[in-house]
């Protein structure tokens, strides 16, 4: 029977020639990930298993990115618990503040994730690594504990929907708009339990940053994972990240998809997800009546170099609207440094934005930019649920860095074509 790309990776990791949708398998893991919110629970559960040591010191990644630099005493205690555990178990991939970044930007950059890998992370956006042709999915802390102990995890092999991308995006439209458009089509549970498999000639027109952003938000459609085929751009990215060894898988030509969506990217326009669901999408050009108190450019979705390049292009020589707060948060130290060298951070500060150290920060309403009752934010993040960025009566509008930058200048939701 033909298999999808996800099914081929899972079959190999389970030591099987063939798997099919619905089958329960036990697969070998290439990496197990946790952050400062989920790892403390996982560590507690890991100790209960009596395993003693982790299955492989080089295959566990502990990334304290959510509440760091520590926002309060309790957060500091959680990070300390992780640090102590990492030290005791000799875990190689523990990242202290100074080298830490938002996990889903950091691990690809470090070459820790690659094609054919099977990765679980106690963070729902672990699906990001599908951009590099990995099978990766979010799990809970107990799954992470079991993964650290055994080096395996149980999975139900998913069926798949295929998303065929054609054409080229118009100016100021990017991967974020594509994925918001898709989630608008499918709904937040439209792809529940399934893989989102991308195909089509249009993929070549998407940057790796676009693909990482799109795979990142697969979970926002309810999907188990989102996965892209491998091409020369992927290989160049891996080379740059120092990842030498990996296995490329491709879907069988006659693989079965429960549903196929074809998307002509040349028809897409800047898109915004209104509160309180990522599927509640409208065009930015039709949303100009929404005034905004805060703009956030960052996160594991859009905190990468190309996001800051394009935002700086729109904001350079202009000023952030009076009374609006604009926060710029590079996702990793490497991105921060490069943005510094290219003069992007200077342009943001000159425009009146504030630049933060890498952190998840406001994305999950943690710290560094919490909203008060009744306030509205446009954010390049991935979730706009009730209370996500602060007060339960605040609002988050999800958008691309292009829209976020344009909005920062005007003070209301703005299609970048209006200002640039």
């Amino acid at each position: 029977m033909p298999m999808t790309m996800t099914q081929k990776i899972l079959a190999q990791a389970a030591g099987l020639n063939q798997v099919e949708a619905g089958q329960l398998i036990e697969a070998k893991l290439d990496l197990v990930l946790g952050n400062d919110i989920t790892a403390p629970v996982a560590i507690r559960e890991f100790e209960k298993t009596g395993a003693g040591n982790v299955f492989d010191k080089s295959r566990v990644a502990l990334v304290p990115d959510h509440f760091t630099p520590n926002k309060d005493i309790k957060a500091a205690e959680q990070c300390k618990m992780m640090r102590t555990f990492a030290h005791e178990k000799g875990i190689e991939n523990y990242f202290e503040v100074g080298e830490v970044g938002v996990e889903h930007a950091l691990l690809p950059e470090r070459g820790l994730v690659g094609p054919g890998d099977v990765i679980i992370g106690a963070d729902s956006h672990t699906c990001t690594y599908g951009a590099l042709g990995a099978f990766s999915t979010g799990v809970g802390s107990t799954d992470m504990a079991a993964g650290m102990a055994l080096g395996t995890a149980w999975f139900k092999v998913p069926a798949a929907f295929q998303f065929v991308l054609e054409g080229k995006l118009p100016k100021w439209v990017s991967g974020k708009d594509v994925i918001l458009h898709i989630i608008g089509l499918t709904g937040v549970d439209g792809v529940l339990y399934r893989s989102m498999e991308y195909a089509g000639a249009g993929i070549a027109n998407l940057t790796m940053d676009d693909r990482l952003c799109m795979a990142n938000m697969a979970i926002e459609a309810g999907a188990k994972n989102g996965i892209f085929p491998i091409d020369d751009q992927t290989r160049a990215f891996l080379k740059e990240a120092g990842r030498a060894k990996y296995t490329e898988y491709a879907a069988d030509k006659d693989a079965v998809y429960e549903r196929v969506y074809t998307i002509d990217m040349s028809k897409l326009r800047s898109t915004v997800a209104f509160p309180h669901l990522p599927s509640n999408t409208r065009l930015a050009a039709e949303s100009t009546h929404i005034t905004v108190d805060q703009v956030v450019i960052g996160s594991c979705t859009n905190g990468r170099l190309s996001d800051f390049r394009v935002a700086a292009k729109i904001m350079a020589g202009r000023k952030v609207a009076k009374g609006l707060r604009c926060l710029v948060i590079p996702a990793t130290q490497k991105i921060y440094l490069q943005a510094l060298k290219e003069g992007l951070l200077t342009q943001f500060v000159e425009a009146g934005a504030v630049v933060s150290a890498p952190t998840c920060g406001p994305c999950l309403g943690g710290h560094m930019g919490i909203l008060a009752k009744g306030e509205r934010a446009v954010a390049t993040t991935n979730r706009n649920f009730v209370g996500r960025m602060g007060h339960p009566e605040s609002e988050v509008y999800l958008a691309s860095p292009e829209v976020a930058a344009a909005t920062a200048i005007t003070g209301h939701i703005t299609d970048p074509n209006e200002v640039a």
Partner: protein, 166 residues
């Protein structure tokens, strides 16, 4: 195994940010998490909930983050079972892994009102609305998951596997 309790009823897409807001995630203490359970969707939930009560919801319950704090908070608040038309996949996994009973049932949400008394038989998947005298059938668990639940969740499963290796 059976349970019986008063129903708290919610609609589609109850996400993990309202089940337990991130501002409380600087702790892993179940009792502290339970004290803020459902706070942003139902401010009086914590005051009203009693041991054994039941949550009934519509589609995609538990969507959003992978935080296990969500099922932990619900369980520690005293909820004995969550019945929904469907669950987000990570929440589903987490609930099974920590031993919070969850049942998928397409009709229960329409046939049960907030405040109704409901009893659940986990062996048969039969849900009875005691207040209205109606019954609903939930989907049974696949055998592997039944085994996991019967064994007490994922940690005992790992212990058994590690023991078998030695």
């Amino acid at each position: 195994m059976q349970t019986k309790g008063t129903v708290f009823r919610y609609n589609d897409n109850v996400d993990t940010d309202v089940i337990i807001p991130a501002r409380y995630l600087n702790t892993i203490d179940p009792a502290e998490l339970a004290a803020h359970c459902m706070e942003d969707i139902d401010a009086t939930f914590v005051k009203r909930v009693k041991q054994g009560d039941i949550i009934v919801a519509a589609k995609n319950f538990g969507c959003g983050s992978s935080r296990e704090h969500a099922p932990i908070a619900i369980k520690a608040a005293g909820i004995s079972c969550v019945i929904a038309q469907s669950f987000a996949r990570i929440f589903y996994r987490n609930a099974i892994n920590i031993g919070l009973a969850i049942l998928e049932c397409p009709d229960a949400h329409d046939g049960i009102a907030a405040g109704d008394t409901v009893s659940v038989d986990f062996d048969t998947g039969k849900i009875t609305n005691v207040t209205k005298g109606t019954t609903f059938q939930a989907a049974p668990f696949p055998p592997f998951m039944k085994e996991l639940i019967a064994g007490g969740g994922l940690v005992p499963y790992v212990q058994a596997k590690l023991a078998a290796k030695k």
